[in-house]
Amino acid sequence: MTPRTLINLTDNMSRDLPAFLPELVLCGAIVLMLLFRLFARFDQKHMGWVALVLTVYALIVSIVQWQGGIYDPRPVDVKSLELFSGMLVYDNLTIFLRMFLLAFAVLLIWLCLMTGIPDREDSADFFCLVLGATLGMSIMASANHLLMIFMGVEMASLPSYALAGFLKGRRQSSEAALKYVVYGGGAAGIMLYGISLLAGRFGTGYLPDVAAFMAANPLDPLVLLGTLFVLIGVGFKLAAVPFHFWCPDVFEGASAEVAAFLSVASKGAALAMLARIVLGLGGLAEPQFDPQVWERVAPYLVPVLAVFAAVTVTFGNLAAYTQTNLKRLLAYSTIAHAGFMMLGLATMTRDGVSAVLVYLIVYLFMNLGAFAVVAFLRNVTGSEDMRDFRGLIHRAPVLVVTLAVFLLSLLGLPPLAGFAAKFQIFSALFDAGRNYGSPGVGQPGLSGVMYALLVIGGLNTVLSLFYYLKPLKIMILDKPLEEVEDRPCEPLPIPWLPNLYAGFLAFVILAVGIFWGPLANAGGEAVNRFHAASAETGGVPVARGGQP
């Protein structure tokens, strides 16, 4: 950052601010909710509606940007812009992930309005934290500088810590928050130390430069150490094994709504950041694929990612077996799904990243749906333990049927959307394996790794069958406790709106599972116009700092 770039910063402000509009709307929503508290007239109102309206507006702006409408500041032939003198990058991947995060925020706020967590008094605090974390995740997804990576991670994490402990009076909630903040703070510190080594070694934190320098000497010990520490930080956000231990405890202690937020939005942002780092390091971020960079980096990076992914997916599935608490079961399922998405990233191809994006969207609906059903059931029964839900289908038919759709989709059963998502990942792995083995590329070792990952992914899908079916068996096949004890078996008093909500999500899963062409195309488009190096430098990454 030199005085020259500072001048650029002010010159480009009128171009950069519209590109940043969705985030600015979120900032506005946060300030507005806090200001409203000052007036007696609004103090008693539920702030969820303010949050909902403004988040919907931000989502609309993002959709207009995706279609290249009035809020899109890019000239016709430019695919990516660097905002704020190279701090953030604005390209299709950014917009795609923003749409993902904002759509999730809208659905989550709607869910919170129905379940009554938070109550009216706490609503402003709760939604400020949710929108603040969403803002941080959005920055993670568009970061183009090591400083922005750290800022994004911290902006996403700090509100999440507070959200995990939002139910202040509950012992479990306070314990979940303490574990999250202790582990999270430690992981952030280690990540920052790694960032300081990388940025200092290369004399710049600008990601394309860092990637270019790293490709030049991938085995420098300081760089290896820095990269390892950064990967630890990302792995923690992703809950990748062996940095997963916080995840089940936090999900069990926090409310189901917060757990849904952490499992979908937080994972999505961390994956997006990892995708950017992986593609950037692999030379895939250039306008034209740069095979030389790829050849230097891939033999080291692919096996590391592959091992992480394989261990994560297998561990998550194995640990889920013995769980009886639904949120805890879904936590291990979340870990396993993060592993599945890392399988896609381990291919280090654009197809792999495109498959991950499709998976993320599908995962949003199925995981949010599962957590929403848990929240609705908690509200009427006061329990989250599946042993209390015997024969529930006689008492809450709609919720159980939709939960079955969500769990079977998480399992990957056709014709549900989960199958389409897994199919994309597997086909990306297969293509990569065939491609690496071909004489033109000549990486038989990597080809073997891809096929091994394919087998591991397939085995894990079978493994996950049993624990996804267990709650369904208890809810559908077992007799209700009331019937065994000869008491009348009353239907649960569930209002129509939650049923509608769960039905809507299940319908989306079914529809996407049958017609997944458009979604796959959108994923492909998001990656194909992936960040090309900055327009100002004419596509060639120019070293801004000193030589390494």
């Binding site: 030199t2 810590y161 306070s174 200092g200 202690g253 608490n325």
Partner: protein, 104 residues
């Protein structure tokens, strides 16, 4: 005695980092763990400022980086202390070993 150079600062930062990591791993008191986190963050900050001092091209960037880290560390400490206080209200202790309701 050689003049103080970049290596000396980096060594100091590495020592701080290791102290912080050991502190995080071994302390049973939640406040002690948080002190460990602060040590790690400040180790990283010394790295950044030292690199900025010895590399003119990194000067402004490194300093800015360090300023942001100071602010974020303060924010993190505030949130973490609030959570520890809440934990104390529910458990009447800040011993992290007593946090064992959730496991499995």
């Amino acid at each position: 005695m050689s003049p103080i150079g970049l290596e000396h600062y980096l060594t100091l930062a590495a020592i701080l980092f290791v102290c912080g990591a050991v502190c995080m791993a071994t302390k049973r008191n939640a406040i002690g763990v948080l002190i460990g986190v602060e040590l790690v963050l400040n180790g990283a900050n010394i790295n950044l400022v030292a690199f900025a001092h010895f590399n003119p091209a990194f000067e402004i960037e490194g300093m800015t980086f360090a300023l942001f880290v100071i602010v974020l560390a303060a924010a993190e400490a505030a949130v973490a202390l609030a959570i520890v206080l809440n934990f104390y209200n529910n458990h009447t202790t800040v011993d992290v070993d007593t946090a064992e309701d959730l496991k499995g």
